[in-house]
Symmetry: C2
């Protein structure tokens, strides 16, 4: 049997992937409270927003302010999504630790979502790398390959095309790559197969998986990915999320359910799940009327599960 | 990486584990329609009820009639739950193909649920085996070890105690054994660990896993179990189920979600998922007001998934 990593990261994307797909526009102060409480609960990587044109995603117009705020929290890796060079320039100016450039392996989805072919996105990655180097900035560049397991518009997406895009991004100079099941088509067998290949191509530079729970398989997919050595997963508190350009692609894996599974497997996440559940309750109240997901919050932690020691994080929060 | 089985069985337990835990008493004719449609959709193992005292579980009072009906469907393995020798005698008289004797590895849960210690249940298994042999019946005896990953009443349940009960049941003469996470405490790491040990003790006679989705991990648990070679899983249509004596233990893994995961992995189940989803819609209407679960029904099958060829089953249904 393959071994599991000792530690894994639950990267919170609820403030970006989640909030861009709900009707509620969360006030900046509430977003800051979310980031603060997520950090206090032990989360150490948070995608706080995206530098897309404000008229397209007005919910995320305060991204620069959120980056500035999040950077004040000790040990927090602050990431943003950037669709292109222009967004990357804003990310570099904001001082974000990491910028995620999405690339759709589905050509049809790529044209609908980014108005570029996959190869045009790869070329943009090269320009972003040049801009980063010219600025002398430390902001990491992550290429995130979406619709990697199929696409609601195009249908099948070939594994060879995903791996070609992945290699293309690496050649263009991104620091690392991740793979996303943008529309919830993936099952654990497909994840195992593709992630094993991606590890062969990118090694440790293949850094994360991003799964939607559209058909209930997100946690099984994470388990399969863990067995290939991947140890970072995007997740949204209360499972909010989706893609406005991919119909039916509702719900990222819920951060609290993911942390519960990982810690139950003896994989350290640094997260105090009770605190995360308390934050979930707050966010659920702020998002009243929106569709939320996740399962753990209903039943709570099993009586047999010891509460995670969080002395270090608790003191950082004080 | 471990290999997966080529085929796996989704054993339907919604008519027993599901219906015993909802308020609605489904009329016998509707239960027959459910069994008929499940068979037509390709399900070949169905637990149709239990031979417990009618006053305890009046919803399942028609079990003998359901066994008689289900036995008319070609190729269907008809199983029932029996709590003791008296129930086993009724099962033998009914002509069921298999009787499942539950044993709680948690002593506290065993006393609350069956009013017997685990060792007293093992002794009862011996008496059931003797009765089966005396009757010259072909009804298989399965010992199902519940609360194998912890218990809401007792808390921790030791792996060594689960394996001791498992060996005890085999020594008492059961034909095969299965393991259940009755209250939804299991995660995939624990499943892998215990199932590997159980395979070492029982080999092929360790035949099935039974997972509740109380905390969202049922499908990840199935995936972990598949890697240990287990190829039969209990499931309830629409995820109904639970244990009336284990508070909070809501929801078996949903049959339709499980079939979807398995078939997506290239593991044949013989199930036509579209038909199963149609049956789910019928059952949901019959159980109006009850809490249902599962995820696939909302999004439907991915456009990339070919519909399962079901010529054999379809003709059996004609």
């Amino acid at each position: 049997m393959p071994s599991f990593p000792e530690r894994a990261t639950v990267r919170e994307v609820g403030l970006r992937d989640g909030l861009q797909s709900v009707r509620t526009v969360l006030p900046t102060e509430r977003k800051k409270a979310w980031i603060r409480a997520a950090h206090a609960a032990g989360q150490r990587e948070i995608e706080v927003g995206s530098f897309v044109p404000v008229k397209l995603v007005p919910q995320l117009a305060d991204t620069a302010e959120l980056v500035e705020y999040a950077k004040t929290l000790p040990g927090l890796v602050v990431s943003v999504l950037v669709p292109n060079l222009k967004g990357a320039e804003r990310a570099l100016a904001s001082g974000a630790d990491l910028m995620l450039l999405p690339l759709s392996a589905s050509r049809a989805h790529s044209l609908a979502n980014l108005r570029k072919t996959p190869d045009e996105v790869i070329a943009e990655a090269g320009r972003i790398r040049a801009a980063r180097d010219a600025a002398g900035a430390k902001t990491l560049i992550e290429g995130g390959i979406g619709t990697a397991f199929g696409c609601t518009i195009q249908g099948e997406v070939k594994e060879s095309e995903v791996l070609r895009c992945l290699q293309g991004l690496l050649d263009a100079g991104v620091d690392r790559v991740s793979i996303a099941d943008t529309v919830g088509f993936a099952g654990p067998g497909a994840v195992r197969g593709l992630f094993e290949q991606a590890r062969k191509v990118a090694g440790e530079r293949f850094c994360a998986g991003h799964f939607h729970d559209t058909r209930g398989l997100a946690l099984a997919n994470v388990y399969a990915a863990l067995e290939t050595g991947v140890d970072r997963f995007d997740a949204s508190l209360a499972g909010i999320g989706g893609c406005p350009y991919a119909p039916g692609a509702s719900g990222n894996v819920a951060s609290e359910d993911l942390a519960f599974m990982l810690q139950g497997m003896g994989i350290a996440t640094g997260i105090d799940i009770e605190r995360l559940l308390a934050l979930r309750a707050d966010v659920a109240a702020w998002l009243e009327g929106e569709t939320l997901h996740g399962t753990l919050w209903r039943a709570g932690l099993p009586s047999t599960m010891p509460r995670q020691a969080v002395a270090v994080h608790a003191s950082a929060d004080a």
